[in-house]
Symmetry: C2
Subunit: 215 residues, 2 copies
DNA sequence: ATTATTATTTACTGATAGGTACATAAGTAG
DNA sequence: CTACTTATGTACCTATCAGTAAATAATAAT
């Protein structure tokens, strides 16, 4: 048996064959960016391979095909950029501020790191093809439900704590908050000035907190 | 120069040349439906001409090209299906019921006439290409602003009438209502059960009515 | 060193995309 | 009638689409 020391894998099974020359996660991040900007049909294989820095056969062997790469990109987005609002929400102990932080973080993400203003991959690009590209609707449902669950849990806990009224409807509040995030993305992608959105966040947070039983 | 007799027809103006063999508005309606279902890039010329019942040269001579046809379709949608929520809003004298009627009419439209559930052409398909297809962003801005203006006017009138509190912020309320319509479209297109959306309408109407100054 | 396995590169495939040339048909104008 | 104008149908254009075959390169196993 040959010396495994040079591969830093003493006993384990080192992969056979030629090693991959590109970073899988990095390539996926680049593809996600392209889909975010151009949508599923608008992103060509040349756009994708160009941004990912790989050739077509590498893309196909690593990701399957365009459809599966798109699904991977949705999940990648959902666990990176798309997860930031939830992180901001969890980090804020005051529920009102948490909701505002959720919307603020969403807006920052939607504006991109350099003013690109692509909105939300999950909110705009994916739904356009949800009914025609297999797996997209399920993926959206899954990612949305996950965030919703986190919101509902927190809202219920606040209710138990007494910082929200007993008649507060956590499910409706969570839905409304998710919708408000989605709407920001829509407006941002349509070119609306983010300052206007930013200014409305406190009022919208109050609208979410007003989700209680009718009297 | 020849006299006006050339273009002056005794009994009504008749166009010269072979008359058009298809209905312009009907063809545009068919194209709108295709774009609504498939988006801009997802709708091929074959899809479009097939649904419109015409050949390519007829499409190009009547509508210019795919891009201009898409813009025409956005405006057509905005003044037909897309105008229904506003009509329902205007027809209802009670402001609370008007807001609920607005959202209900939007939901019906988004569900299509036969359960297609394409959401909203303006809310989902158009924004995907807003930054890349010339004229789309302007068209969206224009159509949105028109609806918003109608909402704000009514809300201001209600405020003057006393059926809304003096601190009510009509602009924010209108924005929130438009956003809620857009969110319904998003959820519908993603395959969500419309009954759940229908059930939330009263609560959301109350959220809109709660857009007043903070205390 | 030889073999097996996997990744990369180049070049290519058939299909389809959006758009158009051209001949013909159908009307008006004189 | 002939001339002119506009629309239609067929057939075609070039560019690009998503996807792949085949040769080569780089690693591990023997």
């Amino acid at each position: 048996m040959s010396d495994d020391v040079k591969n830093n894998v003493p006993n384990g099974m080192k992969k056979r064959g030629r090693p991959r020359a590109f970073d899988h996660a990095g390539a996926l991040a680049a593809a996600t960016q392209v889909f975010w900007e151009k949508g599923f049909e608008g992103a060509s294989l040349d756009d994708l391979t160009g941004a990912m820095g790989i050739n077509r056969p590498s893309l196909y062997s690593a990701f399957g095909d365009k459809r599966r790469l798109f699904i991977d990109a949705l999940n990648y987005y959902g666990t990176h950029e798309g997860a930031k609002p939830m992180l901001a929400f969890d980090a804020e102990p005051d529920i009102t501020k948490a909701i505002e932080a959720f919307l603020s973080a969403a807006l920052e993400t939607q504006m991109g790191s350099g003013g690109e203003a692509y909105g939300c991959l999950l909110g705009t690009c994916a739904p356009t093809v949800a009914a025609r590209v297999e797996g997209v609707a399920e993926c959206l449902e899954d990612l949305g439900e996950r965030t919703r669950h986190g919101l509902v849990e927190r809202l219920d806990a606040e209710k138990a704590k007494g910082s929200l009224p007993p008649g507060f409807q956590s499910g409706h509040g969570a839905d409304l908050l998710l919708d408000m995030m989605q709407c920001q993305a829509h407006r941002v992608r349509c070119g609306q000035n983010p300052d206007r959105l930013r200014a409305q966040i406190p009022m919208r947070a109050r609208a979410v907190l007003g989700c209680r039983d009718a009297d």
